[in-house]
C-alpha cells in the first residue's frame, strides 16, 4: 500500500518535472532562435575565408582556395604592423588604466569630506558612459594643431606638436585618452576592495606606529591584491581588443603605421575595399586567438582565484 503510494507520488513528481522541462525548453526557444540566426549562421560564413568569395556565387558556390588568404596575410608586412600596434595599444591601456585606478582608489579613500568624495566620483565615472564618437570631438578639439594643448605648449615655449598626425605621438595619445576615459570607472572595484578591508588591521598598524605609507603598503595593497590579480588576469583576454571605436574616430591615413589595429584593418579591407574573403580570414585569425585567450584566462582565474568568467 505504502509502496503504491510512493510510486504514485513519484509519477506525479516526474510528470510535473516533464511538463516543467517542456516549459523550460519553451522559454529557451526565442533566445536560441536569435542565437542560432545571428551567432551560429555567421559562423558558417567563415567558410569564405577559405574561398575566393564573390557575392554572385555565394558561400557555397565560390571556388575553394584552402589557406591561400592566410598565407597571403602572413606574407604581408601589414599584418605584423597591425598586430604590434594592437598589442602595444591594448597592453599600454590596460597597464596604465589599472595602475591609475589603483592609485586613484587609494587616494580617494583618504577623502573624508563626503560631498566632495561623491562629487569627484560622479565626475570621474562620467567619461566611461560617453561614446567615443562624442569624446573624439573633445580630443580633436584639444589636441589638433591649434587646439588648447598646443596653445599651452606654445606659451611655455615647447612649441606645437602634431598629436593626431605623428606616428610617434599617436599611440601615446590613444593610450592617454583611453586611460582618461576609463580610470575612474575601473577604480570602482578597487574602491570596493579597500572598503572591505578589516578596520582592525589599520588600528593594529597604528598601534605599531605605522605611518600612512606603511599602512598603505602593508595593509591596503595586500588587501587589494586578490582583486588586482583577478582584474589583471581578465585583462589578458582583451589584449587583441585595442578599441575600434576610439581608433576609428581618431585615426587618419597619416598614422596607419602606428595607429591601425586588427579591427580597423578588418573593417577597411572588408567593408571599404570589399575583400570579403581576405578580411574574414584576418577576422577569423583574431577570433581564434581571442577564444584561446579567453579559455586560458578562465582556466587561470579558476585555478588561482575563486572567481571565473563562465
Amino acid at each position: 500500500m505504502e509502496l503504491l503510494h510512493k510510486t504514485k507520488v513519484q509519477n506525479a513528481v516526474s510528470g510535473r518535472m516533464r511538463s516543467q522541462n517542456a516549459m523550460f525548453h519553451f522559454m529557451m526557444l526565442p533566445g536560441m532562435i536569435f542565437l542560432i540566426v545571428f551567432s551560429y549562421i555567421p559562423m558558417v560564413g567563415i567558410i569564405m575565408a577559405f574561398e575566393n568569395f564573390t557575392a554572385a556565387k555565394g558561400i557555397f558556390g565560390s571556388p575553394f582556395v584552402g589557406l591561400k588568404h592566410f598565407q597571403y596575410m602572413f606574407s604581408l608586412p601589414d599584418i605584423w604592423v597591425i598586430i604590434r600596434n594592437t598589442l602595444c595599444i591594448a597592453i599600454g591601456k590596460m597597464l596604465l588604466t589599472t595602475l591609475l585606478a589603483i592609485i586613484f582608489a587609494i587616494l580617494l579613500n583618504e577623502i573624508r569630506v563626503n560631498w566632495m568624495k561623491k562629487t569627484i566620483q560622479t565626475v570621474v565615472y562620467l567619461p566611461h558612459f560617453l561614446s567615443w564618437v562624442i569624446l573624439a570631438t573633445v580630443v580633436v578639439n584639444m589636441f589638433n594643431l591649434d587646439g588648447s594643448v598646443n596653445q599651452i605648449l606654445n606659451k611655455i615655449g615647447i612649441g606645437s606638436m602634431n598629436f593626431l598626425g605623428s606616428n610617434t605621438l599617436f599611440q601615446p595619445l590613444l593610450i592617454m585618452t583611453d586611460v582618461w576615459k576609463e580610470f575612474g570607472y575601473s577604480s570602482i572595484v578597487f574602491l570596493a576592495a579597500i572598503t572591505s578591508i578589516d578596520p582592525g588591521l589599520y588600528e593594529a598598524a597604528a598601534i605599531d606606529g605605522a605611518n600612512w605609507w606603511q599602512k598603505t603598503w602593508h595593509v591596503t595593497l595586500p588587501g587589494m591584491l586578490s582583486i588586482i590579480l583577478l582584474i589583471s588576469v581578465m585583462n589578458i583576454a582583451n589584449v587583441l581588443n585595442a578599441g575600434f571605436d576610439q581608433v576609428y574616430n581618431l585615426y587618419s591615413p597619416m598614422v596607419y603605421e602606428t595607429g591601425d589595429i586588427i579591427d580597423t584593418y578588418v573593417y577597411r579591407m572588408g567593408l571599404l575595399n570589399h575583400q570579403y574573403s581576405f578580411s574574414t580570414a584576418v577576422g577569423l585569425f583574431k577570433s581564434f586567438v581571442g577564444m584561446f585567450l579567453m579559455l586560458f584566462v578562465n582556466g587561470l582565474s579558476k585555478k588561482f582565484t575563486d572567481a571565473r568568467i563562465f
Binding site: 522541462n21 516549459m23 523550460f24 525548453h25 529557451m28 533566445g31 536560441m32 542565437l35 545571428f38 551567432s39 555567421p42 559562423m43 560564413g45 558561400i59 587616494l107 577623502i111 562629487t119 569627484i120 566620483q121 560622479t122 565626475v123 570621474v124 565615472y125 562620467l126 567619461p127 558612459f129 560617453l130 561614446s131 564618437v133 562624442i134 570631438t137 573633445v138 580633436v140 578639439n141 594643431l145 591649434d146 587646439g147 588648447s148 598626425g165 582618461w180 570602482i188 570596493a192 605611518n211 575600434f244 574616430n249 587618419s252 597619416m254 578588418v266 573593417y267 572588408g270 570579403y276 578580411s279 574574414t280 577576422g283 577569423l284 577570433s287 581564434f288 572567481a307 571565473r308 563562465f310
Partner: protein, 297 residues
C-alpha cells in the same frame, strides 16, 4: 616630535586632496569646453578663444540645431532603437536565465544550452559573415539591423542566471505548492527579487545602444536612417582634412568647418542629455553590476 609628525600628516592630506581634485578637473574640464563652445559665438570659436566659459554668449547654435531635421530624425531613430533593444534584451535575458539557473536534475538539457551559449560568447563569425547575413535577411537600412544582431547579450544572461541561482529555493517551493507554473514563478518570485541586477543590465543596454555607432556605420547606408551617434560621427571633421588644412593654415574648407564647430558642439551636448538624465540611476546601480559581475561562485 609629535608636532612634526602632525605637520607632515597634514601636508600629506593636503597633497592628496589636491591630486584628487586635479584628477576630477581633468575629467570635467574637457567636457566643459565642449559645452562652452556650444554657447559661444562663431568668431570666438574660430579664434580658439573659448576655454571653460562661453565667449560672446549666444543661443544661435541651438536655434540652428532646432531647425536641423536630420538631427531630430536621428535622435528619434536612436530613441526608438533604445526602447526596442531594451525590451528585446530584457525579455530574452530573463526567459533564458531562469531555466539555466536550474540544476541539471531539474532541467536536463541545461548543459547543452550552456555549451551553445558559451561557445557563441567565445567565438563569432566576424564582421563580414554577419554583415552578409543581415544583408541577405533584407535588414539593411532598417532599424532591425541595429536591434536584432545584439538581441541576446550572452554575458548578461550568465549574470542574471547566477543571480537567479542565488534566490532562496523556499520561495519558489512555496509558489509551486500554490500551483504556480514556471512562468508564474519567474514573474512573481524571481523578478521581484532581482530588481538590482535587472536594473543594472537594463541601464547598460540603454547606454550601449544609445552610444553604438558601429551598427549604423555598417548596416545603414542612407543618411536619413542613421541613428544619432552614426549621424554625429558623420559630422566629425575628417581628421586627414583637418591635418592638411592645419598645415596650409586657413583654407576655405577649414573656415567652413570651424564655423560649424559651435553647431556641432550643440548637437553633441544635446545628444548626451539622455545619458545625463539616467546617470544618477546608473550611479546607483553600476556598482551592483560590477560586484555581481566580478565576484561569482
Amino acid at each position: 616630535m609629535k608636532q612634526c609628525n602632525n605637520g607632515w600628516a597634514k601636508a600629506g592630506k593636503i597633497i592628496i586632496y589636491v591630486i584628487i581634485i586635479l584628477m576630477g578637473l581633468t575629467c570635467l574640464l574637457p567636457l566643459l569646453n565642449i559645452v562652452a563652445i556650444s554657447f559661444s559665438g562663431s568668431a570666438a570659436v574660430t579664434g580658439n578663444q573659448v576655454g571653460f566659459i562661453p565667449v560672446d554668449f549666444t543661443l544661435a547654435p541651438y536655434q540652428k540645431m532646432l531647425a536641423d531635421s536630420q538631427f531630430w530624425r536621428s535622435f528619434l531613430i536612436s530613441a526608438v532603437r533604445v526602447v526596442l533593444q531594451l525590451a528585446l534584451n530584457m525579455v530574452l535575458i530573463v526567459l533564458m536565465a531562469y531555466p539555466l539557473s536550474k540544476s541539471k536534475r531539474e532541467f536536463h538539457a541545461r548543459g547543452t544550452y550552456m555549451k551553445l551559449l558559451i561557445f557563441a560568447m567565445l567565438f563569432n563569425g566576424g564582421m563580414i559573415p554577419t554583415y552578409l547575413l543581415v544583408k541577405d535577411l533584407g535588414l539593411l537600412n532598417t532599424i532591425w539591423a541595429l536591434v536584432l544582431p545584439g538581441a541576446v547579450p550572452i554575458f548578461n544572461v550568465i549574470l542574471v542566471m547566477n543571480f537567479f541561482a542565488g534566490v532562496p529555493k523556499s520561495l519558489e517551493e512555496a509558489a509551486v505548492m500554490d500551483g504556480a507554473n514556471p512562468m508564474q514563478v519567474l514573474w512573481k518570485v524571481y523578478l521581484p527579487c532581482s530588481v538590482p541586477v535587472l536594473a543594472t543590465i537594463a541601464l547598460f543596454s540603454i547606454v550601449g545602444s544609445w552610444n553604438d555607432f558601429f551598427s549604423g556605420l555598417i548596416y545603414i547606408t542612407k543618411v536619413n536612417n542613421f541613428p544619432l551617434m552614426t549621424y554625429i560621427q558623420s559630422l566629425n571633421v575628417n581628421i586627414a582634412d583637418l591635418l592638411k588644412a592645419g598645415a596650409s593654415s586657413s583654407t576655405l574648407t577649414n573656415i567652413a568647418e570651424l564655423t560649424n564647430k559651435n553647431l556641432n558642439a550643440a548637437k553633441i551636448v544635446v545628444s548626451t542629455i539622455p545619458l545625463i538624465v539616467i546617470y544618477p540611476f546608473l550611479q546607483k546601480y553600476f556598482v551592483t553590476g560590477i560586484v555581481v559581475g566580478a565576484v561569482k561562485e
